[in-house]
Structure formats: C-alpha cells, structure tokens
C-alpha cells in the first residue's frame, strides 16, 4: 500500500476461523486427537440429542400450559455441548439463557431446568455444578460477573477458568465491552463464548452491528478473538479447549465466536415468521449440528441404526422421567417469597411475612 511520508502501519489484525467437519458430515482436514476415540464422539452426540429431546419436551410442556415462557436451543446444540465438553468440572459456567445443553452436560438435572423454566426459582439451586451461575436474563450483565469470577479464580491459585456465554446481540452492550477490556487489562482466565445465532429477537446480526465478525470485537480489548463453526461440535470443543488451556497457563482471555443459527422462535412467546423468511430457516436446516455429526459417524462406520434407536429411547426416557418429577414437585408456599431474600430476614420484614402466612394458609 502506498503511504504518505510520515504515515506508517502500526498494527494489523486478522481473524481465524476453524471448522473440522463440514455441513455434509465430511472431515475437512485432520481431526483433533480426541476425535479418534469413538466414545468421545458418541458422548458429544448423546449430549446434543439429549439437549434436543429436552428442548422438545420443554416446548411441549409450555404449549400445554405446564411450563413458563421457554427459550429453545434448537440448532445450537453443538455450541452448548462443545463448550461444556471442553471444560473441567471445577471451571465455572456463566450461561445466558440458551445453554441447556451445557448445563445438562455439567450435571444440572433436567428436572431442575424444568423447575426453573416452570417459574420455580428453586430450580436454579443446582444439586451438582454448585459454582455454576443461574441463567442471565438481563442481557450481557453477566459478562462483568464472569470477569470477577475469573479474577477470584486467579487469586485462588488453582488453574480454573470462567466461561461466559452470550449472544450476538449481547455484544452490542456497553457492559460487554467494559468487561472485555478489563479482562484484557488484567490478563484474566476467562473465555467469552459468543453464540452468534444470527438473530437477537427480531433483529438480524447485520443490523445489530457493522462489524464483519464478532470475534474481532476482542481485538480492541487486546485479547485474542477466534471464530468457529458453531454447528460443528468437534470444532467448538477443540477451539474452546485451546482457549481454556491458554487461560490455565496464564495466557489470559479469549473470545470465541461460534457461528450457528437459531432454528426456532426467540422464545415460546415469539412467532419468528412475522419477521423472518421461512426460506432462510429451511436453508439453515442443512447445516444443523445433530444431523451433521450423525452423518460423520455413520460414514465412518461408527454408528448404527440400532445404536441410534437405543440412544433416542434412552434420552426420551430420561427427559420424560425428569418432566414427571418436575410435575410432581409441590409448589412453594407463599411465604417462600421471603425465604431467599436475605440470609436472615430482617425483623422489619417479619410483619410482611406473617401477613402472607395469615392470608396464604401455610
């Protein structure tokens, strides 16, 4: 490039994109080591199938008045499962609200998730994964939390990492940028996983930002940004594993942009056909992650019809049992509204609690 005297280029940037298995289920190059083990691939496949089964059941429960408004992760299973499979149990997950697959993988019970989405906050008091956070409803406000968690983990001295999942639209917010900057400045062990499903309710990502990639938003904060095919679970796991490993070794934060697609409505309260062309959605079904991995496994002779049927049956039974347990949970008594307000209820609120007890028959 011709330059004026006195002008020079002081920085150049580029963004790398990673894919291991293409939409047709073919390996595009040598696969990461773990992919040589059939059990590893089968586990990833099971995680995605379980997630999809959970989503279907949750939507069915909502449609029949048995669950509250629900955000399905249909089409995005590889992001949730890929990232969770790369994490260690002692890492900390700070999800947005579409990572059921990651939560299930990390030991949150399907029954607990149903309870949360059914309007019972007790569902977020997980029996396992005790350090993982509840979903973040105010968009992106958990990104600074993740940085704070990472700081605490760093001070704690153990090689643990905070993983924060957020959407494409969430990257428009100031708290996202501020948190990213701080994570860079303090070289903290955190991975920001931006799940770019191309839509933020009715706003497509092209109208959300003029940035060509969301990964490049990391560069201004001085941290690495990388893009991955978010419908390729093998690639997601590999890229997130790399970011986690770097963080554990003191290499600081990474932003991973996973390119996927929201095949469903924003939530059960939405009807995306009002603002989204159905042809666009149909085309995206050819890239979806579950069929992709199944095609790969089948082509490699690693997966049979019997195995498929057994897996579907097993996932179905597990989710049905969880739904049954959820339905059998007695509702919280009215006084419960005071029980998780303070560690000890201040005396000044006792009168209000007694009033509820008197009215509420408990």
């Amino acid at each position: 490039m011709a330059r004026q005297p006195g002008h020079s280029i002081v920085a150049r940037f580029s963004i790398e994109a990673v894919r291991c298995i293409d939409a047709a289920g073919r390996a595009v190059g040598p696969l990461p080591g773990f992919a040589a083990d059939k059990r590893e691939l089968a586990a990833l496949y099971r995680g995605m199938v379980l997630t999809r089964t959970f989503d279907q059941k949750a939507v069915a429960l909502q449609r029949t008045g048995q669950l509250g408004t629900y955000a399905s992760s249909l089409g995005q299973e590889a992001v949730a499962v890929g990232l969770a499979s790369a994490m260690r149990p002692e890492d900390v997950l700070l999800p947005s609200f579409r990572e059921h697959g990651a939560q299930l993988w990390r030991g949150v019970a399907a029954e607990e998730l149903f309870r949360y989405w059914g309007g019972d906050e007790r569902g977020s008091d997980f029996a396992a994964a005790r350090a993982d956070w509840p979903v973040s409803i105010p968009v992106a406000s958990h990104v600074p939390h993740a940085v704070g968690v990472a700081w605490a983990l760093q001070l704690g001295g153990a090689p643990r990492v905070a993983v924060c999942v957020l959407g494409d639209a969430a990257t428009s917010k100031g708290d996202f940028y501020e948190a990213l900057n701080l994570a860079g400045a303090w070289a903290l062990p955190v991975v920001f996983l931006v799940c770019n499903n191309r839509w933020g309710i009715s706003v497509p990502v092209e109208r959300q930002t003029a940035a060509g990639t969301l990964a490049q938003k990391a560069l201004a904060a001085g941290i690495e940004g990388i893009q991955v095919d978010g419908n390729d679970v093998v690639a997601v796991r590999e890229v997130v594993a790399g970011a986690l490993d770097k963080a554990r070794r003191g290499g600081g934060a990474t932003l991973v942009e996973a390119l996927t697609y929201r095949l469903g409505d924003h939530t059960t309260a939405d009807d995306a056909s009002r603002y989204r062309d159905s042809a666009e959605v149909s085309a995206r079904w050819h890239e979806e992650p579950v069929a992709r991995l199944r095609a790969f496994l089948t082509a490699q002779g690693l997966w049979s019809k019997d195995e498929e049927e057994a897996l579907l049956g097993e996932c179905h039974a597990a989710i049905e049992a969880a739904a049954e347990a959820y339905r059998a949970t007695p509702p919280a008594p009215p006084t419960a509204i005071f029980d998780s307000l303070f560690a000890t209820l201040p005396a000044a609120l006792e009168a209000q609690r007694r009033e509820v007890a008197r009215r509420g028959g408990d």
């Binding site: 509250g68 105010p138 917010k173 706003v203 959300q208 919280a332 509204i337 307000l341 509820v356």
Partner: protein, 328 residues
C-alpha cells in the same frame, strides 16, 4: 366531541404515537424490536409499514446507548420517543436518564432543555419474574428534573404522550403491563390531556383511596365492595408522580378525613411514603385516623403465579385497610 369508539389501552398508545408522527415530522420512535417485531407489548405493530425505518428505528441491544442517543437527538432538534422494553432494563440506562437527561438543563446553565420522552412497561401480573416486573416509577419520581407519568385510563394513554412531547423537559411514561389489554370507549378524536393534575375517579365522603397506574382498577373494585357495606370511598388517580399534585390529595383528605395509599411499588421509601408524609405535613389536623398503606411486598417479584399474586396489593387488602381507617 365525536362518536365514542371501542378501543384498548394498547391501541390508544399506538394511536398517540401515530398521531404525533403525523403531526410533527421531528417525532420518531426508537427501541429494541419496535419495528419488524412491533414492540415487545405489540404497541408499535404496523407503524414500521406506515412510517418506514427512518422513523421507526430498531436499535441494537444497548439501552444506555440508545437512551443517550435520544438525548443527543432531542438536543439536535428531533423529538424522540424512546421505548425501553421494561422498567427493569431502564436500569441499564440510568446514567443517561439520571446523570444526563435530568441534569443537562442545570449543567448547561439553562441553555439545554432535553425534550425527550421515554416510554416503558412497568408492573407485575404477567408472570415475567424478578427482572421484568417491578414498579419503579415511584423511584424515578425521586429525581428532580424528570416528569413521571402513569397513565391508567384510555384517555390518558391516548392524551398524555401528546402533552409530553410538547414539554421542553424529559418525561418518563410508565405503562402498566396489566393495562394494555384493557378495553373501553373513547372519543375518536380524543386529544391531549394535562400532565399536571391528579383526578378524582370516584367521589365519596368516608375515605380517600389514593392510587395510580395498574392499581387503579383494583382500587375501584375495592370501592365497589366498600359501597356494599355502606362505606363511600373516594378514589384519586394520581396520574403524575412528579410533580405530585398535592393540592388534589389534600383536598380529598380534607373532605373524607381518612386516607389509604395503594401502591404496587415497594413500601419502604416508596411513593406511598411520600404521599403519607405530605398528608402529615399539609393535612394533619384534618385526619381522623392514621394514613394506611397497601403496597407490594418487599421482595423481588416471583415468577410462579400464586407467589406473584401473594406479593401484590389485592382488593381484599384495600378493603381491609379502608375499614381499619374507619375503625371497623
């Protein structure tokens, strides 16, 4: 006055926006999902087709930015209507609303008025849980430099926006989520209404029930119940929380000598406390009984329907408080 037409609160807000946009080319609407989606409470459905993307603007997900942009646009000569999905997300824009919109006139030595209107949904009852359901209008009413409107009737839903847009200062309009589907009749050509005075919605001589917003209808229902017992309750709709119309409150209390404040917001430090204090200051010698309060319980609004309802003021509670003030 023209023929009354059957309409809803939602439709009234929409028509108010439409008329403002037709009347004044400087007016535009911006916020999250206001365009193609039609607004998260379907208020702006159809407006994109009528006015185009220049004037019905879907913003990126960035409350602080688009509220600040509203301030800039207002100072630049436009008349923005900023829609924030719900009061809880207005907290992302607090720096712009409180540190900036409310203080720019002061900080500019009187040079810069901020003719900005911000609309947002408020209140509980639709099972939207602890991060979409609070009633924070009383808390905004704490801020000097802001005007805070709480339209409860179709007439106010239709007429307050007009007056707010003509106001040179920042105005916040709180639309209670339980009101959007409320239907009734309104003159087809209903026009602007004042944004200064409280309104007596029902006259009575025994006790004053002071309320606003979504709680107005529960209060009117309570007044019906009290009437069955021979108690004539007066219902005052505050309409505007800042500046508060103390004169109407005091005049009502002077007539009835008893007051119950009904506020879906939290009790401690809330709008109900302010009203009770003003009654103490200005009508103490008129009172025959202590001021009673019926408020939302001081908890985050829970999701489950039975818990949510337990946390909110209800008709029976209002009736009981009125009875107590009458010593019954």
């Amino acid at each position: 006055m023209s023929q009354p037409v059957e309409t809803t609160y939602r439709e009234c807000v929409k028509q108010a926006i439409r008329e403002a946009m037709i009347r004044d080319q400087r007016v535009f609407l911006m916020g999250e999902d206001v365009g193609h989606y039609g607004g998260c409470y379907a208020v702006s459905k159809g407006l994109l087709a009528e006015f185009g993307e220049e004037r019905i603007r879907d913003t990126p997900l960035s409350e602080n930015a688009f509220t600040g942009i509203g301030i800039g646009a207002a100072l630049g000569g436009l008349r923005p209507i900023v829609e924030i999905m719900t009061v809880n997300f207005s907290f992302l824009a607090l720096d712009q609303i409180i540190n900036n919109a409310a203080t720019l006139l002061h900080m500019s030595g009187g040079a810069f008025n901020v003719p900005l209107v911000i609309r947002m949904a408020t209140g509980a009852g639709r099972q939207l849980a602890a991060q979409h359901s609070h009633s924070m209008e009383g808390w905004y009413a704490h801020i000097p430099g802001l005007k805070v409107l709480t339209p409860a009737t179709l007439e106010d839903a239709r007429g307050m926006l007009w007056t707010a847009l003509e106001d040179p200062d920042p105005v916040l309009i709180f639309e209670h989520v339980m009101l959007y589907n409320r239907s009734g009749t309104l003159a087809a050509d209903a026009g602007p209404v004042d944004i200064a005075k409280a309104a007596v919605r029902r006259e009575g001589s025994d006790v004053s029930l002071l309320t606003y917003g979504g709680a107005l209808y529960k209060t009117l229902e309570a007044a019906d119940k009290l009437a069955e017992e021979g108690i004539a309750a007066e219902v005052v709709d505050l309409r505007v929380l800042r500046p508060l119309d103390t004169a109407t409150i005091v005049a009502s209390v002077a007539r009835t000598r008893r007051a119950v404040v009904i506020d879906e917001g939290w009790r401690s430090g809330g709008v109900s406390a302010e009203i009770a204090a003003r009654i103490m200051e200005q009508a103490f010698w008129e009172l025959d009984a202590p001021v009673e309060r019926v408020c939302g319980l001081e908890v985050p609004i829970p999701y489950a329907a039975h818990l949510e309802q337990a946390a909110l003021p209800q008709v029976e509670g209002i009736v009981a408080a009125a009875r107590r003030s009458l010593g019954r």
